[in-house]
Each structure stands twice: as structure tokens, then as C-alpha cells.
Symmetry: C2
Subunit: 323 residues, 2 copies
DNA sequence: ATGAAAGCGCTAACAC
DNA sequence: GTGTTAGCGCTTTCAT
């Protein structure tokens, strides 16, 4: 691969001039511009972003750490983020953490070594490990440390909305299938749900699942619930798990929503594909992704941002799995 | 962020020694090792991979270009690739091309500037643009140029298998919902299907959809098919479109598989979630992802690889949407 | 076993 | 307008 020196030589100018041309900084006469451009094309030259980054101290890369890109919620978020990242002239590193502390830490080391301009951590399993780091970080869902901004949906209120919807449609024997306990989001969804139930004087059963989207494992957990058909309303912590639950109920000959009403969480595209289509609590993925990247880039640019929790509103998406 | 010089100074050695220590190349006495390690930890120093890359001419990064990470097939593939990439000590850049030539070209420029070690292009909409490039490239599905290896499933045979399955279960009024024409894969699936039908003396109808996974648009296309219920067997070009078709049929009160049998393609996780569970043609995602990255890394390492088409076997996954 | 110094590809301050 | 040069953080010969 040719370098700036080659181009300069062939164009009969100094490397400074080529650099100026490349960056549009400083004066370069039209004639030399032409010559330089010609040589660049002839040589198929692309400036080395690594060398540039080393000098400017800005690699123009952003890292997205997510539990798993296969999870529809996260891959929809990734799409929004990747798009915005590109539009801002940055490139995206992808890291699947598998909700695993060790993996997350390994990623973090690598990302540091690449001097990424910023990091979006989601559902982080770490805390102080992000302390010394001199790279702007923003967190989705789980809190990392007081100095790191956390963005999340209003999961607590989402839980409340879910309960009230089931209650309003007549459910009184209610089950909540709760997600893993190391996810702040699922804890809050559960708490909101239970609190709202308490206020109505209704008792709800809660069972905890230890995976958020592995179909087979979800099925195994479902089988452990005795007499699931005795409930008339079920709130599941995410859409995938709700989809599996729906299938499980249908397999048992239980009619949804006539006999059991079902409500999910996320509003990932999967809900629309189901029959009956899934009622769910929507997390506005696009807004979340956009806010994350906006706040991160502001930090990268040294702009002041308020360090606090940013809560995005959740809302009911009423479809066919509830009455 | 501190650099190798800082560490050297504080440890009272030269930068060469620190470098040797860092890379495990050349002799460093146990004592100095200790001292250096101490200073590294005290300073929270991480070697700059960019500077290293500029010298070694290997950034240890791999780029994955895919149409869209939201597509279950591609995000499952991405998971496999990300994992393997990390295991080999590389990091992954993610680029969504949206099946858009311009976007793909823009990505390509950026990736060149970052001097990525290798590129995995999927369903590329480009050809010669990859010519001059001095970076190892491997392609999934669409062919780029004679010098670039293409890996894909045996789509043609997959189409044949799909037809023969429908035929064997008694279907004679058969429809194929075909994917966009700029995807080599969907063309081959169609050809295999139609060829197999021809051999049995059966005529099949074919309609082409111009999106591969946008639910709303898929629904619109479905509505344009008149009397879809007149068919007794439908082969859909991928699982998502099959899921939407299933839902559409159910909405019309058509019983699957009793009245219409349905078969998809991909074996993405969505098929299991449906009710009835979707019969499909499996593309072994893990094998594909692994082969792609293996062949790419071999090229990166300068090992000889046979430049030819690599075809991965497809197979029938019989579930409940067919008899 | 360790250090000095050249060089990787680039930017930018400064001189002309 | 353009060139010279120092320096970004690193690796690696070649001395010692």
C-alpha cells in the first residue's frame, strides 16, 4: 500500500501539501490539487486512518458492547447505532459480551488498546473496572458508576402498565415470568408489576427465568411451571420469552387470549409475526439508540452533558394476545 | 493516556526493553520484568494497538459487511463470526450495507483507511470495486470476482429438496415466493425448486418479493397474491417471509398444514417459535461462519487457499408446517 | 540483558 | 502556496 510520501513524490510536491489537500486545511493551488488527486487515483491510495488517529488522538471508532447480537432487541438497537455512528463519520466495533463479566473485561482491554473514541456498554456486569479508563463511556440499562451516564427505558413504569392492562381486561390470577436477576431492567419490570398489583390488592405469582432468549432453555423453564393454565394473565419479561410462552400455551391447547392473556416486553419485530400478534410494552428502540450515541458523541467532543439517568418512556402496544 | 516512553522512564529502562517485555520478544531479566509490570499497572497503561498496527502492517481487525444485522440469519452468522474473530485475537468492525451498492462502497473506503486485516463481504452488490484492494476478502453468497472466494449454502439443492418434500407430501398446486433478484441465493433456490418441479411434470407459480425481511412490506406483497388459498403447498425464500406468510394464511382462516403446507429457508431461530413450527431448509450457519473466517484468516496469514466456490450442504428440517 | 536510533504514515507549527 | 521538520507511540535492527 502506498503512502503519503509516494503520492507527494509522484506529484512533485511535499508531503505537507498532500496532507493539506487531504484534510482540506490550508491553501493548495488548483493545479497541484489536480496533480495530487490524479496520483492518488493512479496509485489507489487511501490515507491511513491509523496513523492519523495516532496523531489526532481520535480514532473515530465507537465500540458497541452488547450481550448478544442475536437478541432482536439488541440487534435492532445495533442497527440504529451503526447507522448513526456512520453518519457521524465514525466506525463501529462490535463486541458480544454474553452477559459475562470476564468477556466484557477482555473486550474492554482490547478496546482500550485500539483507543476507541467512545464505548457504549449495555447491561454491563462491571463497575469500577470502568473507572480509570480515559475513554467516554455510556451505559444502557445497568448502572456502572456514578460518573457514567445510564440510559434505559422506564422499566418500572412498563411493569405497572403491563399489570394495569391485564387487570383492566379482567385478569385476577396473574403470573409474571421474570428475567434474570443480574439485569436491572428485569428487576424493575418485576417491581413495577408487583407494586401495581399490590395497589389493586391482587396477588401475583413470580417465577424467574435465567436466560433471556435461548429458546430451548426457555422451554425447559416453562415446563417447570405447574398448571400454567390456571392463570388468566401472564406478563413475560421480553418478547422472545413471550413468544415461547405463547407457543407453549398453544401446544397445551390453551386459547390465547380467551383463556389466558399474554403480554410481552420490548416490542421487537417478533411480536407482529406471532398469531395472535403479541400485546407488549414498547421500548422505543430508535430513541434509545439515538440518545445513547448522541450523548456519547457529545462527550467525545468535550461538550457538557448532564450526568444523570436518562429514562425513556415505555408504552402499551395493544395487539391480539390480550382482550 | 501514558505511553511506552512514560513506562520506560518510570521503570528506569529504555523503551526498547519495555517493548520487548510487552511482546515477549528478546531477553528481559526477571527483575526488570517485575519493575516494568509494576509501572504498567500503576499507570494503567495499555499499549497502543494503532501504533503497533502501523508498524507491523497488521491491524488485527476484521470487517463484517452484511446487509442488515436485524435479519436473523445474518445476526446468527455475525455471532459465530464475532466469536471466532475474538478467539483468533482479532476485533470486528460491523457494517450494514442494506444491500445498497453505494453504502457498501462507502464502507469499503473506510475499511481500507483503517487497514483492516480482512473483509467478509456478504451478498455484495459490487464487483471490480474489490479488485485493486490489497486486503484479503471473502464473499458470502454473491460472487464478487474470480479472485475472491465465495462461500454459500447449496441453495440450488435446497430448492430441490423443498420441492421434493412438498411433492412427496402430496402437493400439486404449488407456489414459490421468491426473494429479490439481486441475491444469487434466492435465484438458485428458485431454480432448484422449478427444475425439480419440471422433472416431476408439475407446474409451479412464482411470485417475486422485493424485500427479504421487512415485515410490513412482505405483508403488502402477500396481499397482492390473488387466491393464495388455492395452493396446497408454498415454498418461501426465507424464514421471516415464511413466518409472515404463515400469519397471513392463519388470518385468512387457512389451516396450515392441513389445507396449505408451508416451507421456509434458513432455519433461523424464528421457525421454532411459530405455531405450527416451521418446516424449513437448513443452512448450517455455524459451519458457514466458521468456514468464512477460517478461509479469511488463512489468507491473512499468507497461507495457500484454493480459490473456488465453497458450497455448504443444505438439508430439510421437517417440523409442523408440512405433513 | 539493554539502549540508541531509524522508521512506520501521518499532522501541524513554522519558515519562506 | 509550499516545504522542512518535529513528533505521535510503537517495533526492531544493531551495537554494546
Amino acid at each position: 500500500m502506498s503512502n503519503i510520501r509516494d503520492i507527494a513524490e509522484r506529484a512533485g510536491v511535499s508531503i505537507a501539501t498532500v496532507s493539506r489537500y487531504l484534510n482540506g486545511t490550508g491553501y493548495v493551488s488548483e493545479k497541484t490539487k489536480k496533480r495530487i488527486q490524479q496520483e492518488i487515483e493512479k496509485a489507489g491510495y487511501t490515507p491511513n486512518a491509523l496513523a492519523r488517529a495516532i496523531f489526532t488522538k481520535n480514532s473515530r471508532t465507537i465500540a458497541l458492547m452488547i450481550p448478544n447480537i442475536t437478541n432482536p432487541f439488541f440487534n435492532q438497537m445495533a442497527t440504529v447505532i451503526e447507522d448513526y455512528t456512520n453518519k457521524m463519520g465514525y466506525s463501529l466495533f462490535l463486541c458480544n459480551t454474553e452477559d459475562n463479566r470476564e468477556k466484557e473485561l477482555e473486550c474492554l482491554e482490547v478496546l482500550k488498546s485500539y483507543r476507541v473514541s467512545g464505548i457504549i456498554a449495555s447491561r454491563s456486569q462491571c463497575k469500577e473496572e470502568y473507572e480509570g479508563i480515559k475513554i467516554p463511556v455510556i451505559s444502557f440499562e445497568n448502572h456502572i458508576s456514578p460518573s457514567v451516564i445510564t440510559v434505559s427505558s422506564d422499566n418500572y413504569n412498563g411493569g405497572r402498565i403491563a399489570f394495569n392492562h391485564l387487570y383492566d381486561t379482567g385478569c385476577r390470577k396473574i403470573l409474571h415470568i421474570k428475567g434474570p436477576h443480574n439485569f436491572e431492567a428485569t428487576e424493575l419490570r418485576c417491581k413495577g408489576f408487583v407494586d401495581a398489583a399490590y395497589e389493586k390488592g391482587v396477588n401475583v405469582d413470580v417465577v424467574e427465568f435465567e436466560t433471556d432468549f435461548q429458546v430451548q432453555i426457555l422451554e425447559e423453564y416453562l415446563e417447570r411451571i405447574k398448571n400454567i393454565e390456571k392463570y388468566d394473565g401472564i406478563f413475560v419479561f421480553n418478547d422472545i420469552a413471550a413468544a415461547v410462552t405463547l407457543k407453549y400455551l398453544k401446544g397445551k391447547g390453551v386459547k390465547v387470549p380467551e383463556e389466558v392473556q399474554l403480554i410481552g416486553f420490548d416490542d421487537s419485530f417478533i411480536g407482529e409475526l406471532l398469531y395472535p400478534a403479541l400485546t407488549t410494552i414498547r421500548q422505543p428502540i430508535k430513541e434509545i439508540g439515538t440518545l445513547l450515541i448522541e450523548l456519547l458523541i457529545k462527550q467525545i467532543n468535550g461538550e457538557k452533558v448532564e450526568v444523570r439517568d436518562y429514562l425513556i418512556k415505555t408504552e402499551l402496544i395493544k395487539r391480539e394476545s390480550t382482550l
